[in-house]
Amino acid sequence: MDMQLFGLIMYAISLATMFGIYGVLCLGLNLQWGFAGLFNAGIAGFFAVGAYATAILTSPESPNYLGGFGWPPLLALPIAMLLSGLIAWPVGRICLGLKGDYLAMATIGISEIIRLILKNEDWLANGTMGISTVPRPFESLGQPWGNVAFLGFVLLVMAILYLAAERAWISPWGRAMRAIRDNELAAAAIGKDVVRFRLEAFVIGSMVMGLGGALSAMYFKFIGSSATEPLLTTFLVWVMLIIGGSGNNRGAMVGAGLVWLIWSGTELLTNRLPAEWITRSSYMRALLIGILLIVVLQRFAKGVLPEKPPRRIDG
């Protein structure tokens, strides 16, 4: 096959795979912010828990860190989610009494603690070197079919999550969640247990973020402290959800696609810049995304696909 065409196809596959992974993360954040109005500014932490758990569970045994245990990748996914949920639960119990901006600060702090532990405890996850022997499902099919199969798997996971999130949105559970988001006092006055509902949204959303981390570790076959930078996780996922339309599951996925397209597109551009500019390129990309956010919010204050009340479900 023509090498250039092959490269283009491989690039498209990688774009689409990353779209799927970010789509998963955005759906998770939408459960917290779009449904329940919870400002989680610590996506990176829950992403890291899922990613590192997967790496430790599935990589071959190593003297440098805990495990690896050489599990089959698919078995590691539910455990990664469970671990993220287990960490989110006490965090939620303590922090969900905090309102709005305080929850944001608390989650930033906890996320950074998680990241620093994973970065500095060498015995646990090989410290700054990270783990670079994470197996990717379908790898044995070779290029490009292994990549295509993994892409299909990621998109399938996102589709299942989308359906589950849509069901949640149109259900009485989602309705109670939105009531709490819109007016906490009134929701309590009509008998909703505000703390219970918030905790559920926080834990489930964090589990989905952990799943996103797990898929990411598999895709890159590597996890290290550089991969859990808040710029690449927390910041980008927030921008995606806001641009796409928070409170809209489809909007979450559209935002993930649009922003990732622009983010990785700028990588191609900045590679062609003169040498003295390349070193500054990552800052320029963040700046560009910031400008994009402002422009989109000027045009579409509620995102590209704004929130809509759900359709009736009783036939």
Binding site: P172, R175, A176, A187, A189, I190, G191, D193
Partner: protein
């Protein structure tokens, strides 16, 4: 139905409620009047579980419920409206009502995912009830509007409608008449009378509109400076010198003297 004993609540140095005791009889429409800052809304918030009292006890139908959170009190049959309407702004009017019933099986995410047909069947009943309430209050024409887009008076009606979704024993109405036009207010008063007569709801009503109080409430309790000043029929209250001075007006003599 509600018994309040020696409730005290301070905000900083201010004693907003200062040893207040009163009771609301089952089946009554009891009024609560008093000047601004008398502690009426604070007392309501304490009864409804949004504020904890610094001292004193609250009983609901004989049970000590002091310090219970709002959502548990709702389960015991206590509903309320707010002085400033607390609508769910990004939900439709219909959804505002359908959110109310407690114990909906679809409020468990597991049921929503795995027992969908049961959830849908229940939903049909809840919708039916919500549409009934909306047409009783004659706001069914706005049922698909977002509640945040309604007028102030309509939002008040949505709040009243929410309390009617769940057969409450007692309803606290905090200035239901504020921002509602005369004709509509008369309709609301009629609705309150009907709910009281036909369904046995007990009402506890804060209101500044004396005509509305006179029409609906017996007895009427007057609060001033965090305490109960007197209790009686509207006629008795209109004749009481202390009340006239504290609230109803005519305190000119004293004002002039000062």
């Amino acid at each position: 139905m509600i018994t309040v004993e020696n409730i005290v609540r301070r905000f900083g140095g201010i004693r907003a409620v200062d040893g207040c005791s009163l009771s609301v009889a089952q089946g009554s429409i009891t009024g609560l009047i008093g000047p601004n800052g008398a502690g009426k809304s604070t007392l309501f918030n304490i009864i409804a579980g949004l504020l904890r009292p610094d001292a004193g006890t609250i009983k609901l139908a004989g049970e000590d419920v002091t310090g219970w959170p709002a959502h548990r009190l709702f389960g015991k049959g206590l509903a309320r409206t707010f002085q400033i309407a607390h609508e769910f702004g990004r939900m439709t009017v219909l959804e505002n009502l359908m959110a109310v019933p407690g114990g909906q099986s679809g409020e468990s995410i597991i049921n929503a995912w795995l027992r969908w047909s049961a959830v849908r069947a229940e939903e049909a009943k809840i919708r039916g009830r919500a549409e009934e309430v909306l047409s009783q209050l004659r706001i069914d024409h706005v049922k698909h509007e977002l509640a945040g887009n309604l007028s102030g008076g309509q939002k008040k009606l949505v709040e009243l409608a929410r309390t009617m979704m769940w057969q409450p024993k007692v309803v606290l109405l905090d200035e239901i008449g504020a921002g509602v036009n005369r004709a509509l207010l008369s309709d609301i008063a009629g609705e309150i009378e009907r709910l009281n007569r036909d369904h046995g709801y007990t009402f506890f009503v804060i209101e500044h509109d004396m005509d509305l109080i006179a029409r609906l409430c017996s007895p009427v309790i007057v609060m001033a400076e965090g305490r109960v000043l007197m209790q009686g029929s509207m006629q008795e209250i209109r004749q009481n010198a202390e009340v006239i001075e504290a609230y109803l007006g005519g305190g000119k003599v004293r004002h002039g003297a000062a």
